[in-house]
């Protein structure tokens, strides 16, 4: 329906014109003049939300390892570097790297300590060097003869006397006694790379990297939060519009059902549903979505009840607009701001509930990289590893804080009537 009245665009107010001419950054700075603290809440929390979304899309920014692989020693505290295996050799030796050995046409004697994992590791490293040489078109090959010593001292003596060409062992153990062997020095890690693996937030009980699991967990949390809230929005909003606008029996029945759902502890309902459906991410989403349908229903119904008395609706009725177009075009646009605000807060709630479900062992398959699962596992080792329960909890708190602050800040800005301060 074309309305000629709408062609006349009202003159813009001066501040709007000003805003049109300045850049985005200036606009953000200007916004705080009108909205104060709430503006900063929105800005800061938007950055936090954007950060979490970025990490969820590209977890590898933070995660150096596969979250499900054992990549380091078990229970490594945050910030500590894991013990490495190093090559120790005589100071007068001309050996620079394993590849130098390839030109020799004999097996090179290599010392290891009986029972240590060093022999396996140096062999696989030699294999890697050989594969590289072959790829480079060289016929040379590194061939090692592993000589096992009973103790570290015997091995180091063996290296000193030239019994073996070089020795392989734990960095920490060798460093501790190296002063007794002035002829020896540590060449470096057997992999040849400077500096080994690092685990800024430590490793868990099966040697997985805590930071990598956190980064991948943000993906799970956001998927659950967004999809579950969208689900309840798509069911709750139309139902609320319909019930509020038509009224009558339909309204009464649905309101009773929604009120019973709303009054009942949501988590317990989600527990029951999640237990029925079995562990999978889709089932968690369904269980949580059911909980929050009443939230949208109640708000939208309430707003519909009050807006349907408005003059513009009355005018629409008098020009013969159909019920569905009144709901779509005259009432729905007015409830959008409150729905957007609930949506943001709702995502935070859904993430919390999802974490609670997986903490109880009812949500996701137990191998998933998820914050709730990590917290539940971490509790078993609370006496031993504080970092296992600390960091996933901080992650949940920050993401919930971000979405809640965003929702509340927007509410204060969009809905000055609700400003209670």
């Amino acid at each position: 329906m074309h309305d000629p009245m709408l062609d006349e665009v009202p003159p813009e107010e001066q501040w709007q014109v000003d805003l049109g001419e300045v850049g985005l950054f200036r606009r953000i700075l200007n916004g705080r003049r009108w909205y104060g603290v709430d503006w900063w809440m929105v800005v800061i929390s938007s950055f936090m939300v954007a950060f979490f979304i970025l990490i969820a899309f590209f977890p590898t920014i933070l995660a150096s390892y596969d979250p499900l692989d054992q990549v380091g020693p078990r229970f490594l505290p945050p910030g500590e570097t894991p013990d490495q295996e190093v090559i120790v050799q005589r100071t007068d030796s001309d050996l620079e790297s394993l590849a130098d050995l390839a030109v020799r046409d004999e097996r090179v004697r290599t010392g290891v300590v009986q029972g240590a994992p060093s022999s396996e590791d140096i062999r696989s490293q030699a294999d890697r060097v050989n594969a590289e040489l072959e790829a480079g078109g060289s016929d040379d090959e590194v061939r090692l003869r592993i000589v096992r010593f009973d103790t570290l001292d015997e091995m180091l003596t063996g290296v000193t006397t030239g019994d073996v060409e070089f020795g392989v062992g734990s960095n920490a153990e060798i460093t501790a006694v190296l002063d007794d062997y002035p002829e020896l020095f540590i060449r470096g890690p057997i992999t040849g790379e400077k500096g080994g693996k690092s685990f800024p937030l430590g490793t868990n009980q099966i040697g997985q990297d805590v930071l990598s699991r956190l980064a991948w967990g943000s993906r799970i949390a956001l998927i659950i939060g967004f999809t579950a809230s969208l689900f309840s929005l798509f069911i709750g909003v139309p139902l609320g519009l319909l019930a509020g606008y038509t009224g009558g029996k339909f309204d009464r029945v649905f309101t009773l059902i929604m009120d019973s759902l709303y009054a009942f502890p949501g988590l317990i309902l989600a527990i029951a549903i999640a237990a029925v459906l079995g562990p999978s991410i889709i089932n968690v989403i369904v269980a949580i979505a059911v909980l929050y349908i009443p939230t949208y229903y109640r708000i939208v119904r309430g707003q519909t009840l009050s807006t349907k008395e408005g003059l513009h609706v009355e005018a629409a009725v008098s020009i013969g607009a159909t019920k569905s177009s009144i709901m779509r075009r005259y009432i729905f646009p007015l409830v959008i701001p409150s729905v957007a605000i609930i949506f943001s807060v709702n995502i935070a709630d859904a993430i919390l509930t999802g974490a609670a479900l997986s903490f109880l062992g009812l949500g996701l398959p137990p191998t998933t990289a998820d914050w709730g699962i990590d917290l539940a596992r971490g509790q078993e080792f609370i006496q031993r590893a504080w970092w296992l329960i600390t960091f996933p909890g901080i992650a949940v708190m920050l993401i919930v804080l971000a979405f809640t602050m965003l929702g509340e800040g927007l509410m204060e800005i969009f809905n000055p009537k609700l400003r209670k301060q």
Binding site: L256, P265, L267, V276, I382, T390, Q421
Partner: protein, 363 residues
Amino acid sequence: MHPLTLTFLIFGIPALIGLIYVYARGSSGLRSYTTTRILLTIPMILILATVVFFVMRILPGDPIDSTLGPKGTAEIKERFAEQHGLNDPIIIQYGRFVGNVFTLNFGNSLIQSQRPIVDELGERLPATLEMIIPATILALGLGIFLGTKAGVKRKSATDYSARIFSVMIYAMPIFWLGLLFQLIFGVWLGWTPIAGRIDPTIPLDRITNFLVIDSIITGNWEALRSVLAHLILPTLTLGLVLSGVFLRLTRINVIETNQEDYVAAARARGISQGTITRRYSLQNALIPVVTLIGLQVAILVAGAVLTETVFAWPGMGRYLIQRILSRDFTAVQSVIVFFALFVAFISLTVDILYSLLDPRVRY
């Protein structure tokens, strides 16, 4: 006497007498409102019970297998199903279940030597109440105290710290707060035990299953000390999480009432700020807080489930989780119906109390 009966005597009877008193003294509007509310509770609970009943029936697991284990032969399984009426058509099972709900006789557990559910609830309910009552008191006390402080002196340091506290506490998963307390007070400082209700090596006669009351009645001071030590962390966890909401609401309402004309008039008459806060603002500011208690029951129950899981507290919530995992239909249904009744009863009581506190409210 049965512990459930005792629990009802301790808490239910005074509440019922109060309700009847209000009902009799109140206006006819209040009376019809109360009647409608009670009548509305029945379909609400029926809807929930029905949903839960059918939801439990389509569970992939099976109570027969999880009870008898792999060693149950086909014959034994058949007899077990026959005994518990699991072979009957589902509609007959449903009818029996609804009948049980109305007579409040929840039937027998399917697992654990088939004890009556009422006996099992009699052990668990006091444990939960013993934790959530002090937690609610703590939440109310802390929330109202800090909320008033923050509301009276707006934009002061107290105000900002109170607001940050309430936002942080809202965003914290309750189970994580529990874990942190366990880590700090239990593991690092070693001040409190981190799991259970009482040191299992201390003997204590169970009468009411409220261990605080039991140990006082029997004069067992060693047990009392252990019980109180075990109570500290769960109560603190649940109480702190709940206090955030009360704080926010109290603060907003104190700010609002402080802008009312009668407060300005009182200030003009030279009444001290303390008196104004206590006698003028707070009295009116607290009315919405009372309604909130009713709304918070649902959060309280959900929080209790998580807190009990973290602290291995043998209450209703942990019982529910355990029985869901072992597919004990009757127990799960009963607990959920029980929770529904509990929530409905509290919110009804709070609504009626509200009409007493605020004479402007007419039903």
